[in-house]
Amino acid sequence: MLRQKAFMKKTKSGKVLKVVKEHYLRDDIWCSVETCKVCEHTEPVLSAVPSINKAFRLPHYIIPDTNIFINQIDVMEHPLITNVIVLQTVLEEVKHLSLPIYQRVRDMIANKEKRFYVFSNEHHRGTFIEKLKDESPNDRNDRAIRVATKWYANHIKDLNPRVSVVMMTDDAGNRDKATADGLQAISVKWYIEALDNTEILDMMSSAKDLDDGQKTIYDEHLSSAHISNGIKSGKYLQGKLGISSHNYLEGSIYTKINGEEGTILIVGRSNLNRAVDGDIIAVELLPKSEWRTTPTGVVVDEEEEQAEEESLKAEQEAAAATAAKEDTIMAEPEAEKATAAVEAHKLDTPQPCGKVVGIIRRNWRQYCGFIDRKSVHTPAGSSAPVNVLFYAMESKIPKIKIRTRQAHSLLGKRIIVAIDSWPRTSRYPIGHFIRALGEAGDKSTETEVLLLEHDVPFHEFSKQVLSFLPVEGENWVVQPEHFAGREDFRSLNVCSIDPPGCTDIDDALHVVPLANGNYQVGVHIADVTHFVKPGNVMDQEAASRGTTVYLVDKRIDMLPSLLGTNLCSLRSNVERLAFSCIWELNKDAEIVNVRFTKSVIASKASLTYEEAQNRIDDASMQDDVTSGIRILNMLAKKLKQRRLDMGALTLASPEVRFSLERDTQDPVDVEMKELKETNALVEEFMLLANISVARKIYEKFPDSAMLRCHPQPPSANFEKLEKAVARFGIEIDHSTSKTLSDSLDSAVLPEEPYFNKLLRIMTTRCMMQALYFCSGAQIEQEFRHYGLATDIYTHFTSPIRRYSDVMVHRQLHAAIDSSLSYGDELTDKEKMNDLCGNLNHRNRMAQQAARSSVELFTHLFFKNKTEEEEGYVIRILKNAFIVLVPKYGIEGIVYASAKVSKADSGESATAQPQPILVYNPETDCLQSTETLAEGETPKTQVQLFQKVMVQISIDDDLKGGGEGGMRQKLKMELLKPWIEGISVHGIANKDDPEAHAVTSTKKRDEAPVPAQDKKRAGKRTKA
């Protein structure tokens, strides 16, 4: 039977289309109930005895409406909810309303255990309905759901054992109509309550119940048409909101203001107007008089919280007392302390400020965090639903109000929460509980948290992915047919040099002196693309993971470990496939020629840096491998010198390595990352290979080569640093990387040996991020890699742990083998651009995850310890300063306001921190408040690079209140210089800190390039 469906559509170009679709009705759509004998389904989805709920007499199948999926997707995902009939009407509406939710519904349908069956009611003769005249589409769909429910009810009424269907909807009108039709209908709330499961009750989104406000707090957002028009006309500016990590009430967007790229600050709750970090927002500039200047202040938000807590407490007490529907009083004392704390100082160049007028796209995701202990006021063991506040681990996210019945059992745990909405009347966004991860402070819980928070996919590889591994498994060996198109390098003295314990060896080297006095040098890279074919599931998985993530105690692989640590890994004394880059270098390490080839190698030795170094140093070793390493070392030194002469930067970052106890994996020691000449040796040749390969693939794919650039940092990044070092009579010239490198080299203070290192660390922070890009998307001048001082660069040498290198391998292969056929994944500029975007994101996330992991272990290390250490001021904030302790590579905030003692603050919310030091914008330092005569220096001041003594401990109850240590934070308190009100008296340390052998740590003395390009630096921390 043929029907027609028509609807109107306005296209982007402003045309109006009438779309008419042919719609065929069928009589062969089955009910998929296991016991049904009438239908001819082969694999029934719905089980014979479905869900049981005490609200209904019979076991039943659930037919939810669209809003159930949209609003309560987390409930639907709960394992208790099975045997659901998803109507086609509902599925299409869900798809139309929210693609992410549609995807989740699809996943549930694919999950056999959930027993979700899609019933194509729109194509079923018995359940298709025509839209009535004057019936709204929504009413029509509701009717379609009822008709389908009715069809099911009739269809299954005679089955044995007896079953029924239940329509689930939160629309009371629809429920009434269904009941009138003789159908069973129920709301989610009643259904869930009859299940008697607190966990699933908490997962229910109850945005309406939580929205207590009579009072509107925020301005209304503009309509999307308004916004897009305003952006077109230049009245509003669009950008992605980035919230300051020190102050969740201050954010900024980077956008074009009047044609010039710039940052717009958005300060304060009302200006932010419910935007959350990562949202794409529309901003209106504030008048110039309201522009403010940096620096950023740190939120001191205790008063404000107090107010919120009071109101929550009142709520909960009222709830407990009346046990009825609570009538909440939102006490709103002036609570804008946080914004007051960052009140503007007038500097000479005020920064543009703006306010959010609308949100173009939300970036809400699920957040890991914990419940604020102070927001729970009910007696322990109570299971009445209470409204509590949730702190996300990410400090950029505002507190989220959730309703839970298990507040007490969730205290001290890490939980996941989703935001449902943020109405104008609610100070905080409203969300619901999703699941608990585990005890806070527990290593595995915290590791899971940090992986989730950084969006690192860490699930096991699926069967599908693994099915693309070679069938031989571990017994795979190089076969004669593999030699086709490959050179046989098995006789060469190839060796690999890696950190100890490294299992994924993706590079190896060899050198052969030539008759003409030159050297043939080869870099051999694991031939991952031999195993990972473009487009298959394994390739897609790797592309989506983007990179291997190295945490302190574990490694999240990009490729299944059979490939990464075995078949691709260039282990010694086994034949392996490789992609080789062969140069002829003259005595001065200049390239005479270069070629690339696929090859088969057999590494003669896999050495650690130390072993390699020992071989170089040990004059008695005269074997081929050792003498090869000596030659390579000689060439590497020349290469490095030339690179430095070109202006390559030698930067630094404070990185440490933990040694872990074997069984518990607890950190027992912080140790230096050893750096030997051989580190530099390998690195030089890798850089050389990357550059050579970059040139080759750019030649072959001028529009779509995957390259890596490092943009020159804008001079604004250096302003503060320049000002600070001017004090020492040092100038920083950052006009080119060469001048910067020279000024860094000459910036030495004899009395302060650490100064140069510190300066390099701070310079690193002025740098831009290096990025992957597609050569067709940028002009050639922007290809430049600032840090390495080369005009073109790419990543070729680590295909086991980076997907970019996999792509580069494919491009290089296509470039050297003209007979090779390849798909558009290598040539499509758009696809390449998208891929680069994903890789950059994954890369950044992986770095942050690694950093968070170090932070986690630092916290574990300092647990129950209090150390006194020397540190340096590296950043001045409005009401605080940040201290770097080089020994542990850690940073902490020292507040420049008087601490209100705990005893006081517990009672009164009125106590305000007295600023002891105030920010002086002219000198960019914090100074004491006494009035100064002309030319007089203040009594005490804190400025950049200043050396201080701090006491480090773990602040357990900073926010969570009490035991459990919610958002653990490294606490730093000032010991020296003594500033009344800020400094503390050091706890008498039983051990003399100097004699503390465990903690004596050396830093890696140098890191030649920005962290992400250092092949040897961050990588290969032992798994």
């Binding site: 609807f7 402003g14 709204s136 309509s223 028009n229 305003g230």
Partner: protein, 330 residues
């Protein structure tokens, strides 16, 4: 369609008309049976197919699209008006004469006639005797002009955007009396037309934008459609005149007069064709005759269109599918 006629045939037809009996048995003022169906093309905003028994077959579609308003640079008029753009095309398969470029002239003539009779742009009406409209019959609905359709209602954002109704008539088969069939079809198609509702949003700064409501139900009719004229073509053969001429009769025609008339009997247009002359007394008689016939025709046509629309509505209210015969109709 034969392009030539033998003297014997001509004589036969001429004499027959003189005796008030035509080759197919009709009398002089008789129309052939008209077969009409609306809503035959679902992709359009409105459509109709008109057939005259024994030949002429015309398909008319109306498509509502959005475009900029057309402002007269001299008078500044038109900023708040929509537009109607007409086009008539004769399919080459309709007649041997239409093959190649054979139909170009006819297409142009019909297109221009439709544009003049439907669109009330006065500049294009100067050549038509709109001023011959008897002043006594001037009434309020005549404010929409000769074309009847209220163009102001088609404007979405004054000075910026409006609806443009593209009226396309396709002649599928030729059996004489094309003009009348095209206008009947157009009237039926306009009656069938539903224009999506629009919601204008004020974006501030004097900027406006609008949304089209995507519900195919939530639509508006073309206002003033009742006042659209239809045409009655009178062919002078010998001393007499006939209506709804067959192809052979058209070949005998000495002079042709197209009378456009609306439901209140107002004369909306006149066009004379062919070489022969018409005496003033006969001319007046013909106009009067055309006017009366036109009014009756409109009445019957409207009744049919309404009956069909009502039948469709009843089906829709009961949730039954509306099935059109369309091109399966015999």
């Amino acid at each position: 369609m034969p392009s030539l006629i033998s003297p014997a045939e001509r004589d036969y037809i001429l004499k027959g008309i003189e005796c008030n009996i035509r080759a197919d048995g009709r009398q002089r003022p008789d129309y052939r049976e008209v077969i009409l169906e609306t809503g035959v093309i679902s992709q359009t905003s409105g459509s109709a197919r008109v057939r005259l028994a024994g030949g002429t077959d015309v398909l008319v579609s109306v498509k509502a699209d959005i475009g900029p308003v057309l402002v007269d640079p001299e008078t500044g008029e038109g900023a708040d008006k929509g537009q109607i753009i007409c086009n008539v095309e004769c399919a080459p398969s309709a007649s041997q004469q239409f093959e190649g470029r054979g139909a170009d002239e006819l297409n142009n003539e019909l297109t221009q006639m439709m544009t003049r009779f439907l669109s009330h742009n006065t500049t294009s009406l100067t050549s038509t005797p709109s001023n011959t409209t008897p002043s006594s019959t001037t009434s309020s609905h005549n404010s929409n002009g000769a074309g009847g359709i209220n163009l102001s209602k088609l404007c979405i954002i004054p000075g910026e955007q409006c609806w443009i109704l593209y009226v396309d008539a396709l002649v599928l088969d030729y059996g004489g009396n094309l003009v009348d069939a095209v206008f009947m079809g157009t009237r039926a198609a306009i009656f069938d037309t539903r224009i999506p509702k629009t919601e204008v949003q004020d974006l501030g700064d004097g900027n406006f934008d609008f949304e089209v409501l995507d519900d195919a139900e939530d639509t508006e009719i073309v206002e003033g459609r009742e006042d659209m004229p239809i045409c009655v073509t009178l062919n002078k053969i010998g001393a007499r005149h006939i209506v709804d001429a067959s192809p052979l009769e058209e070949l005998c025609t000495e002079a042709k007069l197209v009378v456009a008339v609306n439901r209140s009997g107002e004369l909306c247009g006149l066009q004379k064709g062919h070489d022969g002359g018409i005496e003033p007394s006969l001319l007046l008689e013909m106009i009067q005759f055309g006017k009366t016939l036109g009014q009756t025709l409109i009445k019957q046509l409207d009744a049919k269109i309404k009956a069909e629309a009502d039948a469709d509505m009843v089906k829709r209210q009961n949730g039954q599918p509306v099935v059109k015969l369309g091109f399966f109709a015999q």
